[in-house]
Symmetry: D2
Subunit: 348 residues, 4 copies
Amino acid sequence: MTKYRVGILGATGMVGQRFVQLLENHPQFEITALAASDRSAGKTYLEATPWKLATAIPEAVKDIVVQAIEPPLDCDLIFSSLPSPVARETEEAFARAGFPVISNSSSFRMDEDVPLLIPEINHEHLGLIDYQRRKRGFDKGFIVTNPNCAVVSFAPPLAALERRFGVESVIVTTMQAISGAGYPGVASLDINDNVFPYISGEEPKVETEAQKILGRFQNNSIQKSDFTVSAQCFRVNVTDGHTAAVRVNLKQTATLEEIKQAMTDFPRLNLHSSPNPFIYVCDEPDRPQPRLDRDRGGGMSITVGRLYPDSVFDCRFVCLSHNTIRGAAGAAILNAELLIEKRLIERK
Amino acid sequence: MTKYRVGILGATGMVGQRFVQLLENHPQFEITALAASDRSAGKTYLEATPWKLATAIPEAVKDIVVQAIEPPLDCDLIFSSLPSPVARETEEAFARAGFPVISNSSSFRMDEDVPLLIPEINHEHLGLIDYQRRKRGFDKGFIVTNPNCAVVSFAPPLAALERRFGVESVIVTTMQAISGAGYPGVASLDINDNVFPYISGEEPKVETEAQKILGRFQNNSIQKSDFTVSAQCFRVNVTDGHTAAVRVNLKQTATLEEIKQAMTDFPRLNLHSSPNPFIYVCDEPDRPQPRLDRDRGGGMSITVGRLYPDSVFDCRFVCLSHNTIRGAAGAAILNAELLIEKRLIERK
Amino acid sequence: MTKYRVGILGATGMVGQRFVQLLENHPQFEITALAASDRSAGKTYLEATPWKLATAIPEAVKDIVVQAIEPPLDCDLIFSSLPSPVARETEEAFARAGFPVISNSSSFRMDEDVPLLIPEINHEHLGLIDYQRRKRGFDKGFIVTNPNCAVVSFAPPLAALERRFGVESVIVTTMQAISGAGYPGVASLDINDNVFPYISGEEPKVETEAQKILGRFQNNSIQKSDFTVSAQCFRVNVTDGHTAAVRVNLKQTATLEEIKQAMTDFPRLNLHSSPNPFIYVCDEPDRPQPRLDRDRGGGMSITVGRLYPDSVFDCRFVCLSHNTIRGAAGAAILNAELLIEKRLIERK
Amino acid sequence: MTKYRVGILGATGMVGQRFVQLLENHPQFEITALAASDRSAGKTYLEATPWKLATAIPEAVKDIVVQAIEPPLDCDLIFSSLPSPVARETEEAFARAGFPVISNSSSFRMDEDVPLLIPEINHEHLGLIDYQRRKRGFDKGFIVTNPNCAVVSFAPPLAALERRFGVESVIVTTMQAISGAGYPGVASLDINDNVFPYISGEEPKVETEAQKILGRFQNNSIQKSDFTVSAQCFRVNVTDGHTAAVRVNLKQTATLEEIKQAMTDFPRLNLHSSPNPFIYVCDEPDRPQPRLDRDRGGGMSITVGRLYPDSVFDCRFVCLSHNTIRGAAGAAILNAELLIEKRLIERK
């Protein structure tokens, strides 16, 4: 089977590097085009990239010449990790030019015609693509998105609770890794021996995306879930792995055991990058921990722990996911695997 | 004026070291006795102490020979930072032997006859001392306590809200410094590039102490405040300074401006170690930060920031205090200053 | 082919955990016995072990009951990562009882009849085993050792230089990872926002082991190399990966290019855990870095960089190796693979 | 006595902030002008400055409007912490306009007519100022400089050895704090859980400045000391405080006790910011440590420890200084205090 040919927008950044790393040896994809800002265009990927991952730059991409970020690129689909300000115009241009755009940017996430996907939770939201094409006049192209990296850490256990018991309100306090800000990103003077209490634009995203992700697709639109979310977001001195402290009020009463069961039973998918289990629930009192749990399932599992009754809410727990894998590049790749299974990507 | 003569129990530990540091050049106190575990007894303080503070060991204590932890000691009052398991029996023995015991341990905090003090908030709780003496058959001695170091970070802004508007429920998520666990305390392998989601015994303390602190003294007892607290407690890679993310529901409605005003207006005391202001409210979106704000007011101020309306609760904010100063040794010293002002400590 | 059956002494410690991790799915070994201190004996490995690695405890060992550290154990060979004080007596007892003991302890490293192995460098030192058995009256058992974890980072490039040009003197300044001290090991208060300038017993080891490792085996003894080493050893806030800053004076003059070539050309072995290349020389000015380079070659490669002429010595460079893999458990496993190839281990 | 009126170039950067912090309440200086890049000019200092120090911005400077970096400024002397590329032209312009320029930049340090000062070591180098004025055609203005922040940590103990025994060669391996790179400076992804082996331009400075600092002033020029220095420079995850591991060969033999005595006896000056002692030699085996020793003498002392015989050189030791105080702003302020004592600064 020949592989699908992939182009990456923002290929030299932290998420771009994760795309390149995760696609090495991927059975369904091969990288054929890398695009980045003007500063990088014209250089080889090796020259252009301040590689910050603990595995070597794959040989196959070292000599690929980085191109400017504009359609067309020589590929069947586009992974985009552009900064939000440029993403909106550029991604739409690629979709209009006929490319499936699997975006990690926040630009289109909340647009009513754009799927905001976690495949295990809401693959039926792909139904929006037809509507999107009609609405925006796209022919073959389209845009799908994955959630904010902090949202990914708690949306899966929340989905488990929403389906089984209904969710009424959620309190989330995040402790987010520095890699989430890209490179150079967080200044070491701001985070060494410190907690940084502010991440620009983060709290509104965390308060709104989960309701769409857990919403129902019907009549060509997403009926958002009606729970409310309160978010306080912090940066901590951790390389990778976002931790979230969560309290939840449910619509129906549930025992702790039922809650744990709902999470553990949440079905995985048979896609290449879908981890098994999707949600792993720890019993040890001192887990999850970013250093020890972020790489579970190749960085694609959600780890939940410290599930207890709460004195104000119905229950509380701590959850963790790898912010640049399940929270970014890995999420987009899983979306692409889903799109292939659903025959929504064609070879050019 | 001659100074009060101080004995310190647990003098070689992290909080013991803070006592020694903060009492150097204190106008009201001089250290005359240092006591620690059998391992240290008989050595000079210099020999016995793995000094971990950034100022030099005071000359005046270097050669003091550390004694065993048992009454009597040659002093007018006792500061105790014993580990909880041994604190209960030992502190009571000192009180019974006629010593005012100003304890930083958790052992007696929730006993109905023991004041749990933050002088700016509840100095009238000292009224319990008479009852305590009668109940326990103490003659001149007594025990007063200061709160858990994480509670200290949010109890002051909470007190401001409770007095002005009434507090109904509180959600607290803490990010606590490593010095809170003493020395050697937290293993570096547990906290480097990591967040540690578990602090033994901490969440129950954080969920119960504030109600007593903010309670009313009447009829020889404390009528606890009736709000509920939910606590999730984390250890982060910070030397000093506990950060707390807080949401609050109030009994009366209040604007953000009124809430801020209530905190800013909260009166300070005229005691030597009482900072000015007691509660400092930042307007910058990226404050408080442990590295930058923990030393405000000599480590005795509470810094509040990111005060906003909340989507689930009435408001939210972030607060921070220095865990081994306002949260431990400094708190006990302030308690002693209050006791002196109230003429509850006599020179022997 | 049936696998060799392995017993691990000190199985619950940091290096013991690395043994367990690295032996999972190893083609030549299976773990059949785990031994640890009295505190752990009688518990399952899962219960007894404060697992601190980022991969899950292998299913195959979870339920193995930890035994006391005394012969015999049900296995063909012993990996030992005992603390030095207990290692000397215990390891000799196992060897006397007929077990090949592949030790990571420092106890026997400098004994004249015990091989101190880096297989790529000095596998001929195995010739000592006959002499050792005669001298100590061992029958089938014997002891081989691997070097101190800091020595491993610079001994390979030094070997390359010694063979080609002769080495006269070496200056080594190490920046060592916290995992090298085991668990709980380094207190976080000693290393957070800090450099710790003292590692007990380390500098003498670093100044003496390389001369033996690079020595010649002749007439049943090791003729040590005659260069001198100066070592200053520091602990830094890094989880894994020891960095060494090195200056070298050579006996013959050599160009930088020849020096680099000598390192790059240093032959690897065809053993399962021997990395390819053995010594990797970077050209980037900002490498090696622990976070990015420690896992090269599965943690078994030595990474060298910043190779330049020096103003006082002939040349200088920076080298790095993974301290608990190439510097401990992986080193011992490679030694065992060598012993198997040399038919020095029998199935019982 | 009226204070000297100070202007600061680069006032909003990390070193600029230290100037502002250290000059608060200084008995001889008051800040009357603050200059910074075009981005900041026109804003108040409070608005323009990303303040990163743990004490509050002094009230007295908050409302000063930041000016463009060009002469004249309303002040008697100039402290400059400009980045090197712009420093050369700008500082010369200020000197030409009649201002004493006390510079922390590297631009002029090695110019033969510019003093490179550590007042306790080489205040007689001020004799160069006359020559400088003649050579450059300055009237009342002039330029003096302080050393690179890493050089400052080892030049003082070296000066003690040079004077008493003569120094032949020096090996320095530095572990430098992140604040040395300014703000935003070092990216957290480059230093968290890491050691960064490269600091642009640093090793050449460390290899050449000490010879000038320790040189003799005669016949209107500095006769540089003739020892050689080898430098390897690393960035480590420490907020403030540069550590240097040093080996030294002496021209005359000396016992360790004589070496220690030479350092301890090195005379201090009676200037306001000159610490007592200038060089503090620790006996504890685990000192100096950045977190514990950087603030000694208000950040102006040099702390030396681990003084031992070396196996290749005559002796070795570890030294530490506060990089943004003694290594930058504090150094320049001490230079200004010296200039006042020598009547080289006039009130305008």
